[in-house]
Structure formats: C-alpha cells, structure tokens
C-alpha cells in the first residue's frame, strides 16, 4: 500500500489549506457549526462569499471533464472537503456541486449540462433537493406528489419536506410521480425547477436547536419545463440511484472531528479542576484517546474511499461505513464533550460558552448526518444486502 500523497497533491493541499485558513478569519461570529450557512442571512452570505472564492480558483469543478470546465482531480476535491471540514467552512453547495453536477455529467442531456454546469462551477446558482415527502422518507419511491405532462410542460402538485436550504436556494431538483398507472420505479420523473417559480411556497421547519436548516416545500400547479428533465421521462428512479451512487468521501465530516479533537485537547490542557489540568485526569485522557483512535480509523477509511473514487471505482460499501461511523462518532463526541464541560455543557454559543458552544451544537446537530442522506439504518441495510449478500427485505 502507499498512503503518500504525490508532491503535486501535497502542494495542492497546502494551497487549499491556506485559502481556507484565510477564509476562516472572515467567518461571522454567529457561524458555529456545519449547517450554519442555512440559519441566517449572515451565514448564507458567507457561504456565497466562500463559494465565489472557490469558484474563481476552479474548485467547484474539481474532477469534471475538461470540456465542461473541469479542473484538477477527484483527489483535489477530497482535499478541499478535508480543509473545509477542518476550518468548518461552507462554500461548496452539497446539492449542486456534490450531488447534481456528477449526476448531470452521467445522465443529463447535452443541453442541460451546458446550461447548469457553468452556473454550478461559478457559484451563480445554488440548489436544493426536493425528494422527501411526509409519507415518503426512506421509502422514497412511495411518493405521491404528481407531475402531469401538458405538451412541453409538467404541472406539478404536492408537498416535499425536510428540504435543506430551500429557503435560500435558486433552483431545486426533485422527483415526482409522472405516470399514475406506471409500475413502481418506472413512474417517476426527475426535474429541475426554479425556486422562484409561481406556485412554489417554502415554509421553514425549525431544527431541534431552533435553527432554520430545512423546510417544507409546497408545489401548487407549478409549471416545470420538460427541457429540465434529467434522464428519461418516467425513469427518474434510475437518476435517483445514479445520484445516490455519488457518495461523497465524507472527508469534511471526518476533518470536522479532527478539529473538534484538537480543540478539546487544548481545552483540557487549559482548564483546571481541583488545581490540576483536566488533561491530567486519567479518565479524561482515556476517553479522549479512545475518541482519537476512532477518528484516525475512520480518517484512514475515508482515504480508502477517496482512493477508490480517484480510480473511478465507487467504493459504496466503504462510503456507507464512513457515513455511519463518522456521524455516530460525532454523536458520541457531542455527548462526551458536553459531559466533560459539566454545567457548561448546556450553554449555547454566547459569552458564557466554552469552546464557542460547539459541544452543545454537536450534541444536537449530529442527527443531521445520521438521519439525512439515507438514515444509518438504511446504510446498514445497504451494506448487508449489497455488500454482504444477505437476503433482501421484501
């Protein structure tokens, strides 16, 4: 095996870290954790600012084919995710850059690629995902919102839910039932729409910590153009699967943990209990070391995923492992960190908070990666059925 980055990659990494380190200094005070770009105007403005900074360096088109404006390699994309995770920076639209762009490259028409890829690469257009419905979560194919074809238009009706960032997004990508008589998995169409379209109503749902991350999206007789279909009409399920296949390395989540560990070690060194630094408490040392071992373990596995992606292999099972392990590690860290802060574990970002309130933040925000993008139970199903070949639930 060879764990070494090439000289070129090392140089790239340095460059990326430098840019991110500078951006971090401009982070608004209210920006506390990885979903903060959606929570308020300041956060969203910072997201757009970072995105522009990345765009002008070509970093939102990493690993794309040159003919569509691609720059760099898949590994560069991983390195950017790493640095963004470490400095807790937004700037790379998970829906546009990470999910839709590779899907368009794999399944989009030439016209749609030419229209949207440049806008994604330049950070001009931000996307949201209109998939889940009140009665179709894990079992997405059971959705009921409809798209009825009328010439070159679809008239779309229904309700979507849990749509992250829909209150700021310019465009959305959604799936709708387009053939009421069609067989399951052959009755859905994948369409892009402008969020400013008539009939689109976005209503916030507060996350448990009170922040505004996701929304309900009501669609009332929304006209969507047939030219914005991705893939074939009634074959949107295949596109959903293509998109779901573009698992990210989750390197940003992993490096968020790396940073959390560093900050926590510093905190333990500087905080005295009974006249002795917290870091000298054997129980604390043991817990933090256990955490550090797990982080390093998942970091190396995330690099294995990156290594596979760089070779154009999917590495889906390993990617599912990283998603489950890292998100549950974040949950555990939220618990350990709030415990060790004592009564301060409950304090939100404020002048009283320790560690800028990040422990309290993670205690709640950990469920974002655990539940979204296919819950961890669904990931475990995927590993069992497709990875281990165990009988599939009917």
């Amino acid at each position: 095996m060879d764990f070494r980055l090439t000289e070129e990659q090392v140089a790239r990494r340095k460059e990326i870290y430098k840019v991110c380190e500078e951006l971090e200094k401009k982070k608004p005070k209210s920006y506390v954790g990885f979903e903060s770009q959606f929570d308020n105007e300041e956060g969203w403005a910072f997201h757009r600012y970072c995105a522009k900074e990345f765009a002008k360096r070509g970093w939102l088109a990493l690993g794309w084919p040159k003919e569509y404006g691609g720059t760099g390699t898949m590994m560069d994309k991983v390195l950017l995710a790493e640095a963004r995770g470490y400095y807790d920076l937004p700037g790379s639209d998970i829906f546009g850059v990470s999910m839709l762009a590779p899907t368009l490259l794999a399944a989009g028409s030439e016209e749609i690629k030419r229209e949207f890829l440049p806008k994604i690469a330049s950070a001009e257009v931000m996307f949201c995902e209109l998939w889940s419905e009140p009665n179709a979560g894990s079992d997405l194919a059971g959705m009921t919102s409809t798209a009825v074809r009328k010439g070159d238009e679809f008239i779309v009706n229904g309700q979507k839910t849990w749509n992250t960032g829909a209150h700021y997004a310019d465009w959305g990508f959604g799936v709708y039932k387009s053939d009421p008589n069609g067989k399951k998995h052959h009755n859905l169409t994948f369409i892009l729409n402008n969020m400013k379209d008539k009939g689109v109503t976005v209503r916030g749902i507060p996350y448990m910590n009170g922040s505004h991350v996701y929304n309900e999206v009501y669609l009332d007789d929304v006209d969507m153009s047939a030219k914005y279909i991705v893939g074939q009409e009634n074959e949107g399920w295949a596109v959903v699967n293509v998109l779901a296949g573009f698992e990210r390395s989750n390197m940003d989540m992993v490096y968020g943990l790396v940073k959390a560990q560093e900050e926590f070690v510093n905190f333990c060194n500087e905080t005295k209990r009974h006249g002795k630094p917290l870091s000298q408490d054997p129980m604390v040392r043991n817990k933090i070391a256990e955490f550090a071992c797990s982080i390093e373990a998942v970091r190396t596995l995330a690099y294995r995923v990156a290594d596979q992606q760089n070779r154009n292999e999917m590495g889906l099972m390993d990617a599912a492992s990283v998603k489950v392990f890292a998100s549950e590690l974040l949950e555990k860290f939220g618990q350990i960190a709030t415990d060790l802060l004592g009564p301060y574990g409950q304090v939100k970002h404020s002048k009283w908070a320790k560690l800028n309130g990040s422990a309290e933040y993670n205690y709640q925000a950990c469920f974002v990666p655990i539940v979204s993008m296919g819950t961890n139970e669904i990931q475990r199903n995927i590993i069992a059925w497709y990875g281990l070949g165990l009988p599939r639930m009917k």
């Binding site: 095996m1 060879d2 764990f3 070494r4 980055l5 090439t6 990659q9 590994m75 560990q261 560093e262 070690v265 510093n266 333990c268 060194n269 630094p277 870091s279 000298q280 054997p282 604390v284 040392r285 043991n286 933090i288 070391a289 256990e290 550090a292 071992c293 797990s294 390093e296 373990a297 998942v298 190396t300 596995l301 690099y303 294995r304 990156a306 290594d307 760089n310 099972m317 390993d318 492992s321 489950v324 392990f325 139970e377 990931q379 475990r380 199903n381 590993i383 069992a384 059925w385 990875g387 281990l388 070949g389 165990l390 009988p391 639930m393």
Partner: protein, 376 residues
C-alpha cells in the same frame, strides 16, 4: 496513494493461506492447546524452510529481508488461520537483534532463527502486571565479568520451549526508563525455572523464575542501562504485528458468521434474513474497514521509516477492542453452537482476549495516544 494490496502481496498472502490450511487445520490448533510444548516442531521446521522465520532478517544473515508491511500482511493470514506457538513473538523479538545486536550476536542467532532452529522469547512483564518502565524490577547485578539476575518474569511466550530469551532487567536503582538493560541469554541457563500458566487461549505463556542466573557481560543487548528504547521499539512493532494477527482473526470470524447466517434456517428462512442480525453484521463490516486502514497506515509508516508510534498505539488500542467486539458478535450470531469448544468461533474469541494484553493493553496504549495528541 494506493490503498490496495499489491499483486505480489496477494501472492504472499495466498501462499501463507494455502500452507496453513493444509498444515495447520483447526484440529491441530485444538490439539496443540493441550500439548506440553504448545507448538509443532515439524511445522516450525517447514516454516523455517519457507523463510517464514526470516522475513524480517536481512539477507546477509540468511533471511528474506522483506518489508515490514509485507510481514504484516503475512501475519494477517497467520491470524486468520490461527497458528499456535511462539511464532509472532519470535519474529518480533528478532528485531531487537537486527536493530541493536552486536555483529557477533547477529551472526550467532539470526541464521539460526531464520532456519527454524531457534525460538526467541521476551521476558518482560512481571507480577505487577504493568506495561510501563516502572513495572521492571528484576535485578541484574554486575559481578566481575558477569551480571547476576534475580527475580520473576510473567507471561513469557513459550519460555519452556525457547532456545533464547531477551530479559528486561534493572541494572540501576530507581523505577524510570533509565537503568533498564536487555540481556540476550540462553533460555536453558542454570538457575532458570519455567512453568506454563493456564491462560484463556491456552497459548503457553510462562512464569520464569531467575535464581542467581549468571550472564556474561557480552550478552547485554544494546547498551547497559539504555534498554528501554529497544523495548519500546519492540512494543511498537509488536503492537502492529499483533494487531495484524488480530485483524486476520476478526476477518475469519466475520466471514464465518456471514456464511453461517446464509445457510442456517430458522422460521423457514436463513437467519441472515433477520434485520436484527443483518445490522450486527453490517457493524462488523464497518469495524473491519476502520481497523484495516488504521493498521496498514501504521505498518506502511513503519516500512517507510516514518515516525509512527502514535499510529501504532492507536492501532493496538482500536483493534484490541474490535477483535473482542467482532468475536463476541460471532459467538452470539451462531447461537448455541457458537458457545461450544468444538466450534471455531470461540477459538478466536478466546484469542481476542489474549491478543489484547500482548504488547500492551488498550488502556496502556490509550495513555500513549493521549501523550501524543498533545494531552499535557
């Protein structure tokens, strides 16, 4: 970056697998657990002929001169199959001679080890059970041209069959890292008494009592009073290689469990169709993946000569727990049959506990990790 086994490594692994499947079936593993020697001398000879005992010995001393990473991959297969006897400890302890031995010590012992004619063990732990330097209390007193050793060592792997032994002793008052000296001695020297301790893996760890054992000064390994860094090196490399063995073992149990879940039928369907078991097997897979690259990062760094004591300790601490977790799940998912000594899974379950204390327990290594991630 390329995190795959190379083609050559795949061949290396396959030949180890084929050899052990043929030469060391589980019936032999069980037989050797209750055998007085605890290893098969004829098998040891064959391993010597194949070069297995000289993987990490330079070619100048009749070894194979393989990389550390190759060695780890080979030992992964050893762990997958289970190989009773002091094989891994002989290989690990050999590094002390390779890296710290005099020319004479190397010429004398390395070819013998490589050819399968010398079992080399390490007398390190004592009845205090401590892994750090303060645990070393066995005294070696300088008298004329000799050092005289008095004290007791515990958990010495295969001491009763070893030809040579590295003894970790105190040559100066105190309990710190300074004042510790390694001696490379004849394991059958006068004044040494060994007794096999009944342990969970029935792996023939011994109590070794030293009574006025005279050791010529030329048998010091490395420098007088400066033995701790050599022992640390052995702990580091041993941690990685022991983890490689454990990683092999946990894979074996994972594979057996998934295979069994597909064939065992209850309630008219294979038990692998029950989600309660599927998710446990998925967790086993996740644990396997996280263990694998942690282990090989540490092994690769060792091969490249890069600092890796943090990664080595992380690997040992993590895989100690992973091995126990996976083998315990393996037992449970097999139901009743998984609890029988006739079944293979408990062979691994018991070894997971034994592996966990070899070259330092989880808590010992977590403390080393704490120091190296900046905990003051």
């Amino acid at each position: 970056m390329d995190l795959r086994y190379s083609e050559q490594q795949e061949i290396l692994k396959k030949s180890a697998r084929d050899f052990l499947t043929k030469e060391c079936p589980k019936a032999k593993v069980r037989e050797l657990e209750n055998d007085a020697k605890g290893y098969d001398p004829a098998l040891w000879q064959k391993m010597g002929e194949l070069g297995w005992l000289g993987f990490n010995i330079p070619e100048d001393y009749e070894g194979m001169g393989y990389s550390f990473e190759d060695l780890a991959m080979h030992i992964e297969e050893v762990g997958k199959n289970i190989l009773p006897g002091p094989y891994i400890s002989t290989v690990v302890n050999t590094f002390a001679i390779v890296e710290a031995g005099t020319e004479e010590q190397k010429k004398d012992l390395l070819p013998k080890i490589s050819n399968g004619n010398c079992i080399l063990t390490l007398a390190w732990l004592e009845d205090n059970g401590l892994f750090d330097a303060s645990g070393i209390t066995l005294k070696a007193v300088h008298k004329g041209n000799d050092y005289v050793l008095n004290g007791t060592k515990m958990f010495v792997d295969g001491a009763h069959v070893a030809n040579n032994m590295i003894v970790v002793a105190r040559t100066k008052d105190g309990s710190g890292e300074d004042g510790i000296t390694l001696f490379l001695i004849d394991a059958k020297a006068a004044g040494i008494k060994t007794e096999v301790i009944p342990t969970i893996a029935l792996d023939h760890l011994c109590e070794v009592v030293f009574k006025d054992v005279a050791v010529p000064a030329k048998d010091v390994l490395g420098k007088v009073d400066k033995g701790w860094p050599i022992l640390q090196m052995l702990i580091r490399k041993g941690s990685i290689l022991k983890s490689a063995e454990s990683f092999g073992g946990l894979q074996a149990v994972f594979e057996m469990t998934v295979a069994y879940a597909k064939e065992r039928v209850q309630y008219d369907r294979p038990i692998g169709a029950f989600q309660a078991l599927q998710h446990k097997m998925s967790d086993m897979w996740i644990t396997l993946g996280t263990s694998k690259y942690l282990l090989y990062e540490a092994a690769w760094k060792e091969s490249e000569g890069e600092p890796n004591s943090k990664e080595a300790s992380m690997t040992k601490a993590y895989i100690n727990e992973a091995y126990k977790l996976i083998t315990a799940l393996g037992v449970k998912l097999h139901g009743g049959i998984g609890t029988s000594s006739d079944h293979d899974v408990p062979l691994y379950y018991r070894r997971a506990k034994a592996a966990d204390t070899a070259y330092g327990s989880t808590d010992y290594h977590r403390e080393l990790v704490a120091q190296q991630i900046g905990m003051k």
